[in-house]
Amino acid sequence: MKIFYQTFGTVKKKFSGLLNRFFKKKRTRIGIYGPPNAGKTTLANRIARDWTGDAIGPVSEIPHETRRARRKEDIIITGANGNTVTMDIVDTPGVTTKIDYHEFLEFGMEKEEAIIRAREATEGVAEAMHWLREDIDGVVYMLDSTTDPFLQVNIMMIGIIEARNLPVIIVANKIDLPDAAPARIRSAFPQHPVVAISGLEGRNVEDLYETMIEYFG
């Protein structure tokens, strides 16, 4: 009898593994995209912490802190009405059209370190764009509400995401700051849902979770 339970156990394990593999497609892979310093990693950390208890990566005020895409798998988000969605969150390096190491020198970085950071950031953008093409089912596009949303890079990226027919939620982040203007972001991208949050303080993130379930579920 004991042997039976043991084999039953392993069979069950194998079977659930098979099932998982079979239903793998149901899991949505969500990429967090946006310009450098929009708060992508802060949000990714908050999502991971809220639903799994872990963190994804370090944050910094110096642009291009995240230079490799980082992934957290099997995050299950549950909405107020009990709906759930299982997703992999991919935190991507900030996407920009120009990277210059001089920008990092202002933060007190040594020249050599800054040059290496610039090179890694460039590779990071290439990697982020690669993920967007190959592996992403939906996009959370992060913007800093204190800055101008009509930057060429934002218009270009939203265009690229639209061309790939990916669902996108635009996050107007940093509403904890006094000069935040999330309304400006709403008027810039009226064709997409815009959720205003503070990733740092966690303000209004529940709203974002509900929107994610609605659009990515």
Binding site: V95, T96, T97, K98, I99, D100, Y101, H102, A114, I115, A118, R119, T122, V125, A126, M129, H130, L132, R133, V153, M156, M157, I160, A163, R164
Partner: protein, 134 residues
Amino acid sequence: MNKDMPHKCTKCGREYKDGSTEILKGCESCGGKKFLYVKEAEIHKDVLEEKTIDEIAEESNEEVLEIVEPKGKKQVEMYDRVESIRIVAPGSYELNLEKMAKTDERVVSVGKEGSYIIDLMSMVKEEPKKKRKK
């Protein structure tokens, strides 16, 4: 050479030798951008007969040349670029996101213009991946 016909600025009447490259930047005196071919014999007609250059143009049936400055040159620079990454200087990069969004193939340009590095490996990698997907 009697074929040799000087240009005349239609705005101020200044003359330039045929084929002179100065006019490509516009008239040196007034900055005018329109020039007329005038026969050597008729070159002072505007002064002697008090005619405007437009009238001379009508009489001689010559076309007025206009220097057209290339428009939207900057845009071409941004969007029709062949490279996905431009290395402006060590540690300074310009990224062509639209190119990157389309393909993993990497063409890197070095310096200001016309010098490229083509990553051949990035161009052959694609094939087996696609097969696996199917």
